[in-house]
């Protein structure tokens, strides 16, 4: 009889795993993504119900914990603004990592005398979960502006990090071989602390513009931590789901790195900083920007037959996505062909701009990827750059000494005219001068992006 129930539990977890796989598969297809998310949520529900039947001696804490967690989750998900989505994803990710760490801790606390394999799994869950948690908290801080987005470096950083990693591995070895020894609880707590410190130190040298990579990577970590927790409690659904997330996070990390033409090591260890300071002395952009008044910008746009918008992080900061869509609609009614070109790393997380434009009701069909829009850029009358900088920097193509040389960019400068909405001539996050702003065919409309868009829209409405 017991055996039959065991099989039933296993069956529940298998169904859950299959639903996760189908859900992820559907998430990759625009027309089925929403249902895919629901399929995966159904998988989670089945896994949780199965676990409820299997797990518990006392339900009071279980129910209390789930109610509290669900309330916080619902409120947070309802209240969060779309512009705050990167930090929301970061902090949720951190919670997942910390949960895996605590699962490892609870298991160790309850059953200290486990075999080598379980001990290693506990070590990994705590280590990866800890790094994912503290790293995500720092990422959250940087993304929400509570911490400076600037990369933070300190003397002999690599040596400190290396020492911590060695210390963690040593502690891990001691812990894994003698988990039940009296000193091992202390070693275990030391591992937790070191993992948390490592997550912080690993994330602070990474600048705001590299955040898409970091979020994707931390996402991968929290999946792997869940997998490690699965090895502790010998449960396949955790192993499968965690591995799926771990793999997908790594793939996304790779895509983001490729979009910046940088290696993962370069992003993680801040190679750009040295490059910028070296190039800063030699490379100066020659020429003067050509400012333009909203009235003249209006005449320019009014005459345009094809317009491409290139949004960047500045659009998110100014919350200008609704204004962008409104202007886009006006231009379309005016007979122009309107598209939105989105660079893979524009913004602060993968696909950030897509989410914001979707929030403003821009149709999916109008969103173009960089590789689709670059070949036709010559035929575009006006390319409107809104709060984007490095992702439209022609120096990436033209100036071999530039730190971002080789990074694929949207060739905004190839359009017949470029209209740049920008607050000032400040450099982007890479700290690199942008020759686009002083090109002959570029006009600068200085000011807050949202206000500038409103001026343009009212120019159109007055006619």
């Amino acid at each position: 009889m017991m055996d039959n129930i065991e099989v039933l539990f296993d069956f529940g977890y298998i169904v859950a795993s299959v639903l996760f796989i189908i859900g992820i598969k559907m998430l990759g297809r625009p027309e089925r993504a929403r249902r895919g998310n629901m399929v995966s949520a159904l998988g989670m529900l089945i896994a949780v119900v199965t676990a409820l039947f299997e797990c518990c001696l006392s339900f009071s804490l279980v129910i209390a914990g789930m109610v509290v967690g669900a309330c916080i989750g619902v409120i947070a998900a309802r209240k969060v603004k779309m512009t705050s989505m990167p930090q929301m994803v970061a902090i949720l990710n951190g919670f997942g990592g910390l949960a895996s760490l605590l699962v490892g801790w609870e298991n160790y606390h309850s059953i200290p005398e486990s075999n080598l394999f379980i001990s290693i799994a506990i070590f990994l869950a705590v280590l990866i979960g800890g790094v994912a948690f503290s790293g995500s908290v720092i990422a959250y801080g940087k993304l929400s502006g509570k911490l400076s987005g600037k990369p933070i470096f300190f003397y002999s950083q690599q040596i400190v990090n290396g020492t911590i990693i060695i210390a963690i591995l040593l502690c891990g070895a001691i812990f894994a071989y003698n988990p039940a020894a009296s000193f091992s609880y202390g070693v275990f707590i030391a591992i937790i602390c070191l993992a948390l410190i490592l997550g912080v130190l690993g994330t602070i040298p990474i600048g705001g513009a590299d955040m898409p990579v970091v979020i994707a990577l931390l996402n991968s970590y929290s999946g792997l931590a869940a997998s490690a927790a699965g090895f502790i409690i010998l449960n396949n659904v955790l192993i499968v789901a965690g591995a799926l997330v771990g793999a997908s996070g790594l793939i996304l990390t790779g895509i983001m790195c490729k979009a910046m033409n940088r290696s993962l090591t370069n992003v993680l260890f801040g190679g750009l900083q040295a490059a910028v300071s070296a190039a800063g002395a030699g490379q100066q952009v020659q020429g003067e920007p050509h400012p333009i008044s909203p009235q003249d910008a209006y005449f320019m746009l009014e005459a345009a037959r094809s317009v491409v918008f290139v949004p960047g992080y500045g659009m998110a900061v100014a919350q200008a996505q609704h204004g962008v869509r409104e202007l886009g609609d006006i231009l379309e009614n005016n007979g122009a062909e309107v598209r939105y070109a989105i660079h893979p790393v524009a913004g602060r997380m993968p696909g950030h701009m897509n989410v914001l434009l979707a929030e403003a009701n821009v149709l999916y069909e109008q969103l173009a990827e960089m590789d689709d829009v670059n070949p036709i850029m010559d035929t575009v009358d006006v390319c409107v750059v809104i709060g984007a900088n490095d992702v439209v920097n022609p120096a990436a193509r033209e100036i071999a000494s530039s730190p971002i040389y080789g990074m694929p960019v949207i060739n905004a400068d190839r359009a017949k005219t470029v209209l740049v909405l920008k607050r000032s001539m400040a450099t982007g996050f890479a700290g690199v001068d942008n020759p686009l702003f002083v090109k002959q065919n570029t006009r600068m409309l200085f000011g807050d992006a949202k206000a500038s868009l409103q001026q343009l829209i009212s120019e159109f409405k007055e006619v």
Binding site: P30, E106, N361, Y364
Partner: protein, 96 residues
């Protein structure tokens, strides 16, 4: 369950994950990330056991905190992803 079998499952799942994600249009990167992030909340299964079977008070507290965090991750993650995906509209769908 043998350890070898668990590792076997893990390795296969990694390969499966790589195959599943490789061809995702960049428009969907954010929902994909927050959707998989919600899936990583599967650690809730471990947290349920941890909260429900704790050997002593410390274990129960640690387990319950784990459960709260995992539940936030799961519930928040799925709802936020759904909210984002609901905004993606196509031509054939009516604008609000």
């Amino acid at each position: 369950m043998s350890i070898g079998l668990l590792i076997f499952v893990f390795i296969l799942a990694i390969f499966l994950g790589v195959e599943l994600i490789t061809k995702v249009p960049s428009q969907l990167h954010t929902p994909l990330m927050s959707g998989t992030n919600a899936i990583s909340g599967i650690t809730i299964v471990g947290a349920l056991t941890a909260a429900g079977t704790g050997a002593d008070t410390v274990a129960s507290i640690v387990g319950t905190i784990a459960l709260i965090l995992a539940t936030i991750n799961v519930v928040g993650g799925y709802l936020v992803t759904n909210r984002m995906l609901a905004m993606f509209k196509r031509k054939d769908e009516e604008r609000k």
